[in-house]
């Protein structure tokens, strides 16, 4: 029978997925390998994606974060950032769905500075209507220093 435009379906051929049993074996191997690497400490600098103050931040150790709000903690307090979405090193990444476990990652930060932002000017003006309003806004800001990111070998 000649091939027409309707011989094969219009969507492309989907390649078959690998065998689930073999896949499970391969996954277990990879997990063991990564666990071994973590417990042996064979990683350089770790980076993490953390959800904090309703924003997501990509952070490493010793870097500064500034958020546009007040934190109820004094300057010099050590804070643990839970809600880690992703942790990565050079050879492996741990992707959370959506979050990683608290027994797997530990991100510590210190509150350094609590200030106000530079005075931002809010102005509204309608022409020919003699309407102008000027307001100066200073948002409170907090600066955190990320001290350490640690991972523990409790993958399964």
């Amino acid at each position: 029978v000649a091939k027409t435009s309707l011989t094969s379906p219009p969507w492309p051929e989907v390649p078959k997925l690998p065998d689930p049993v073999e896949e499970a074996k391969y996954h277990a191997e990879v997990v063991q390998k990564v666990n071994g690497m973590i417990s042996a400490g064979q990683y350089g600098r770790l980076f993490a994606v953390v959800h904090f103050a309703s924003k997501q931040w990509k952070i490493t150790s010793e870097d500064l974060i500034m958020m546009d709000n007040v934190l109820e903690a004094e300057c010099g307090d050590r804070i643990r950032l839970e809600k880690v979405l992703l942790v990565g090193a050079d050879d492996f990444t741990l992707i959370g769905r959506p979050l990683l476990g608290k027994d797997l990652v530990r991100v510590e930060a210190t509150v350094i500075e609590k200030t106000e932002s530079w005075p931002k000017i809010n102005m509204r003006f309608w022409k020919r209507h003699n309407y102008q309003r000027k307001k100066i806004i200073t948002n409170p800001q907090t600066v955190l220093r990320i001290n350490t990111i640690e991972i523990y070998p409790c993958l399964s």
Binding site: L6, V49, Q56, L85, L86, I121, F125, K134
Partner: protein
């Protein structure tokens, strides 16, 4: 005798006109032309500058999001995936990374972005297989898809 108001011959003179004018001119010093020197022109320019900066603060968010989306699209095309497929499959795999972080990963952590693209691709194929089902047609229906070619 108690005096509640100043006598009518006492006139008050404006003594800090210089500083009131400088308050406005300091925001106009980097402008072009006479509006960085002359108060009358500067007042209008500074007012427009303030209004434009307030409106721009709202549009900056839209602009940055479009920039992140362009960057993620470029990075995912390098790995053979289109942006809608990438984002939708990441969301279906319960990975809640936002576009800002995805753009940063695409720039600074290429290996991580490659693994995310592979995750999205795998979820996409699983979705296709789940949608196609067994590949058998329902009973009593004849379709033009002929399986065996002679």
């Amino acid at each position: 005798m108690v005096v509640l108001s100043a006598a009518r011959w006492v006139r008050s003179r404006l003594t800090d006109r210089f500083w009131r004018v400088q308050e406005v001119l300091k925001y106009a010093r980097h402008f072009r032309g006479r509006k960085n020197r002359c108060y009358k022109l500067a007042v209008r320019s500074v007012r427009r500058a303030f209004v434009r900066s307030t409106k721009a603060r709202r549009e900056k968010k839209r602009f940055l999001r479009a920039l992140w989306i362009t960057r993620i699209e470029a990075a995912s095309l390098e790995h053979g995936l289109k942006y809608p497929a990438f984002i939708s499959n990441l969301v279906k795999s319960q990975v809640e990374l936002n576009r800002k972080v995805l753009a940063d990963l695409a720039i600074y952590e290429p290996k991580t972005f490659k693994s995310l693209a592979a995750l999205a691709q795998r979820r996409r194929q699983e979705g296709f297989l789940a949608a196609l089902g067994d590949g058998k047609e329902p009973e009593g229906i004849f379709s033009r898809i002929v399986r065996h070619h002679y």
